[in-house]
């Protein structure tokens, strides 16, 4: 049930992301990182694949780019979180690595980079929002749930 709610949350974040400008922070990426900090590896990878699939339908010509990137991000975060157990700066690090992976994938495989100002502003806002997103989404999704 908790995983299902996480998927619904990612879908809602995608809807918000799809209706705002590229200057906004990457809400789907942030949501995925927070979900992956708490879910197991396969759930994290599937959540990433689902979020990526959602983003891919907005640019069908490059379908698979986001799916690959976010599935790898989800899986990577789920694996690496054991290395940085609950370290506060780990979220920053994961977000920064995920952003780098995302821009690289967009540039090499996807629709192309959106331009330096957009990249800088969006990345900065995403990093700025990361601690807040961790606090709020962790409180919303994972407090009070019985772990499996």
């Amino acid at each position: 049930m908790r995983t299902f709610v996480a998927f619904v949350l990612l879908y809602l974040l995608f809807l918000v992301q799809a209706s705002v400008t590229p200057w906004w922070p990457d809400l789907v990426l942030l949501g995925l990182i927070i979900v992956s900090l708490h879910e197991n590896r396969i759930a994290s990878a599937l959540a990433g694949a689902f979020a990526g699939l959602c983003l891919d339908v907005t640019s069908p010509a490059f379908m698979g780019t986001h799916l690959f990137t976010l599935a790898a991000t989800g899986y990577g975060v789920a694996v690496l979180r054991t290395v940085f157990y609950r370290a506060r700066w780990a979220t920053f690090l994961f977000t920064a690595i995920a952003l780098a992976l995302k821009w690289a994938a967009d540039g090499l495989l996807g629709t192309g980079l959106p331009g330096l100002p957009v990249m800088l502003v969006s990345s900065f806002l995403t990093l700025l929002l990361a601690p807040l997103a961790e606090l709020s989404l962790t409180g919303l999704l994972y407090h009070g749930w019985q772990t499996a």
Binding site: R41, A45, G52, T58, F62, G64, A71, V79
Partner: protein
């Protein structure tokens, strides 16, 4: 210590998902787009729905604003009409009689200045009574014989008629020009006349009751040097072709209203009309 990544089944499944994403990139372009279309429809449906709802709300708000304005205008118009109706009800009411009359003669120079109609004093027609057509004001009776009357049309050179712009409520005096149209005399330069405005009788000119259709404004040329606004009017009634007119009469024995409704102050000219038109 890092656990080996690819050993657990979860890891294998996760890698499978990642590889699937990479494999999707190798699928032919056209196939990817056609496969994405149903997904796109399904996943973006809430966005489309919210956009449609938002647009509907926006349209509804705009419509509501428009209707509110319309309601205010109608309320103002209703109040004005109620006030006018009460004013009219408070005054003396006179039943007017319409007498239909065929046109049996015209002046032989312009066909527009004078008409002879086949109804006269024996039919209750008196000099000074207005003559109309279904289109609008035609003129007035200026002399009566027992069976015939002489009608001075709007286009006769001596004709003058007080008119009122029903949009801006500006009164003015209309007279004929030489081109078969009317022009306004003494319309102030600041007065509000626009092409297309409808003019009715003002009811202040003594002969015509208020509210009879006269014509519409065809042009308001901009002449800075003119003292008054040069407004040209096309009469609704085509007096050069009219074949049947109606005379508005008071019932026998009734006294005309005062003020805007009916005042007869013009003495009919001394014209003798034979019982039958010349040549008949």
């Amino acid at each position: 210590m890092l656990r080996p990544i690819v050993t657990a089944w979860q890891d294998r499944a996760a890698w499978l998902v990642i590889v699937l994403g990479l494999a999707l990139l190798l699928v032919p372009h056209r196939l990817r787009i056609s496969a994405a279309q149903p997904l796109q429809t399904a996943l973006l449906a809430p966005l489309r729905l919210s956009t449609a709802v938002s647009q509907s709300l926006h349209d509804a708000r705009a419509e509501n604003e428009r209707l509110s304005l319309l309601a205010v205008r109608l309320a103002v118009e209703n109040a004005r009409l109620e006030a006018a109706s009460q004013t009219a009800a408070a005054g003396p009411s006179v039943g007017l009689v319409l007498t239909g009359a065929p046109v049996i003669g015209r002046d032989l120079t312009t066909f527009e200045h004078w008409l002879i109609i086949s109804r006269g004093s024996l039919h209750g027609i008196r000099p000074g009574e207005p003559v109309i057509t279904p289109d609008g004001v035609c003129g007035k009776v200026i002399a009566c014989g027992p069976h015939q009357s002489l009608v001075q049309t709007l286009l006769a050179p001596e004709s003058r008629i007080a008119v009122l712009n029903i949009r801006s409520r500006v009164p003015a005096l209309a007279r004929p020009d030489r081109s078969g149209q009317l022009v306004l005399d003494y319309a102030p330069k600041e007065s509000d006349f626009k092409p297309g405005d409808t003019l009715v009788t003002a009811g202040i000119g003594t002969v015509f009751p208020k509210g009879l259709r006269v014509g519409d404004v065809t042009s308001v040329p901009d002449r800075p040097e003119a003292l008054f606004k040069p407004v040209t009017i096309r009469p609704f009634a085509d007096v050069s072709r009219v074949e049947r007119v109606f005379v508005i009469s008071l019932p026998e024995g009734a006294q005309p209203d005062t003020g805007a409704v009916w005042i007869e102050n013009t003495a009919p000219p001394e014209v003798t009309i034979p019982d039958q038109p010349a040549g008949q």
